[in-house]
Subunit: 133 residues, 2 copies
């Protein structure tokens, strides 16, 4: 299963294993269950989950278990049409952006903000393509 002496860190090995489970359609148990199943500290399990959050595969909420997201929306690139008057700005994620998009602290991902008619919407820059309609 997991080799503690491997070159690849435990939390990455675990993330790989959990990724396979998610791909197989399985839900994720609590961090405590996972830590007991693999004999790994809960902190390490949490770090593995951080990786999956960064991949857009799951989200975690306080007091609630990990939630597996739809894989179609997970890594797919969304195409957004820009109508006349749309404005686009790009930035690195603010704390608010990370909260809204479920980005981990260490993920460096461009944020795209599209504003039209005073309303704005943000996207992960690596998962959006804009076309001027």
């Amino acid at each position: 299963m997991i080799n503690p002496g491997s070159d690849r860190p435990v939390f990455r090995q675990l993330a790989d294993l959990l990724r396979e489970r998610i791909r197989a359609g399985q839900p994720l148990p609590s961090t405590l269950h996972i830590s007991q199943e693999f004999g790994i500290g809960r902190n390490t399990v949490r770090k593995a989950l951080d990786v999956l959050v960064g991949d857009g595969l799951i989200v975690v909420r306080n007091g609630y278990g990990p939630v597996v997201l739809e894989q179609a929306e997970g890594g797919e690139v969304e195409t957004v049409r820009l109508y006349r008057g749309s404005e686009v700005t790009v930035r690195l994620p603010t704390e608010q952006d990370r909260y809204e998009l479920g980005l981990p602290l260490t993920a460096v991902v461009p944020i795209v903000e599209v504003t039209v008619g005073g309303r704005s919407k943000i996207y992960r820059g690596d998962r959006v393509r804009l076309t001027s309609a």
Copy 2:
């Protein structure tokens, strides 16, 4: 300085303080120094640094101290009109992007690529604003 009983987590409070120091042009000492200065555990300091890494303010390397990156501040913002058929993608800079834009190796800046009619042009994401014409 830092209020452990605050609603705002310690690592976020610390991240805010360190962000101000970076803005003031100060370098960051080691995690051990920071933890001793503020009386905070090193793990918590490390998490605060994670916040700054995610913001693109610093980078951390194994065996080396935190490195404050150069920030794009005060640069002029260029407005680019997107005509019909334009496509926009966003990414973090490749080596080629850095060469073309003269970006320092340490600068973490989103790159905006505008493609129209097979020709593409890249911009620094923090110095460009796109408007759909």
